[in-house]
């Protein structure tokens, strides 16, 4: 484990110090299918014409992530809204082959990530933080109790919220599909762990973090 973390830290801080501009547009020729998505389309509603561009619904980025309490590996796609907000919906998998767990866990996660600065640090590093909502599907997790239980016998244990903080080292690209890519790390803390950190002296605020590392690819 340690060598992975060390490699990542090395990687983040020693990549060449190129000038960065976040999600630059038009810096390189786009692929045909992306260009076509930027073209306006029309549809008719109640006799009116609605103009739209397919690009609006096609994701801005995809992420591939290792660990972070949402599976051994997770992949997701998302958007970039109102300048500072980056929602990403992912699916994570943990099983015998991927992560060595003797039980399979499927996790759906909505990562609500916010940019913490207006410009990147050292031209490349964007500090981010936000809240993740993780929805775990495995044995004996439930969002509402099975009918045979008395009311409120257990609290739901399927959905967990997890605040996180971290950052991403962004690298622009001259590519017809991608405007750039980034490598990120995030420390997240599950609500259940935070609760124990608050409630007990035994569990401290340093015991609750789960590290995720991953790559982001940004589309034109």
């Amino acid at each position: 484990m340690r060598w992975i973390i060390t490699t990542i830290i090395f990687f983040i801080f020693w990549t060449p110090n190129l000038k960065a501009q976040f999600v630059p547009e038009g810096s390189y020729k786009m692929a045909g299918f992306l260009e076509r998505m930027y073209e306006p389309r029309k549809t008719v509603i109640s006799g009116d014409t609605l103009h739209y561009r397919p690009r609006w619904v096609f994701p801005r980025h995809i992420k591939v992530q290792y660990a972070g309490s949402v599976g051994f590996i997770s992949v997701g796609a998302g958007y970039h809204l109102w300048d500072v907000y980056e929602p990403t919906l992912s699916y994570g998998l943990l099983n015998e082959a991927l992560g060595g767990s003797n039980v399979t866990v499927h996790t759906i996660s909505l990562k609500n990530s916010f940019f913490l600065t207006q410009k990147p640090w050292f031209d490349h590093f964007w500090p981010k933080a936000g809240l993740q909502i993780n929805w775990g599907n495995t044995n004996n997790t439930f969002s509402s109790l099975p009918a045979h239980y008395p009311e409120k016998y257990y609290f739901q244990n399927k959905v967990h919220a997890a605040p996180f903080w971290g950052g991403e080292w962004y690298q622009p690209l001259k590519d017809k599909h991608l405007t750039g890519w980034g490598i990120y790390f995030e420390f997240s803390a599950l609500d259940a762990y935070l609760l124990e950190a608050i409630r007990t002296d035994y569990v401290t605020m340093l015991d609750v973090w789960s590290l995720a590392v991953g790559f982001t690819f940004y589309f034109h």
Binding site: F13, G136, T141, E196, L206, W209, S210, L211
Partner: protein, 268 residues
Amino acid sequence: MNTIHTVGSIIAFSLLATGCNNIIEYSPYQSGTGELPQNLNEKTINRLEQESSAKFKSFRIAIIGDSHTYYDDFRDQIKALNAIDSIDFVIHNGDITLSGIHREFMWFNDIVSELKYPMLTIIGNHDFLSNGDLVYQEMFGSLNFTLDYNNCRFVFFDDIIWEKNIEDPDFQWLHQVSQKNDSITHVCVVSHIPPWSDQFSMGNRYLFYKILEDNNVKLSIHGHTHSFFSGYREECEVPFLVSGDATDREIILLEIKQDTLLIDRKSF
């Protein structure tokens, strides 16, 4: 370059501070990922059965239960146990976690590793949540098991019903291993849920009582209710002992003698 090193140091510090121990977690619901010890109950049984005498000999055990995530009280309880002289072993009556998630088992293990006496646990209903039953089996071994010690038999019986979507406890096994046997001095049954709890159907309660009575069980030991009880229930001729939870800040001591069982409560 100075600032880069500052940021690097912050991250490196975070990693070191968190100990790098639980910092890579694939899922709170993971099981069998190798961070936990294995077969603790089985190892303890082997050790105890080697130390055991072939004939009856008086001995003393400590009983605790329902530690859940009351970690501060539970740590004090482990310290208090260590401060007591001459306990042969400790029984934990189940609910060692709150939600059956992996990290709770790690925390439990971390605290319990300070205990100087051997300990046996029985699974509780909370330990069945998420994939807790799988983590439990990896960490402790079988859910139903027995210990023969100083010519006494302790029957550890998994009687969780609802969390298995209404599955009957293995009463046939219970009846078989508790079978009255003149060569055994005392038989004690340990299960998390006392039979009068609402997880038991009326018939299952009746059957549990019947098995205890027919096999002349000396004491039926449970947790689950979060409050101490010692004595008889109206419908059963076998006495019951129920431990409270860790916040009750007490340890139950059970003195097992040839002709009687003495129950003592020790606050800490």
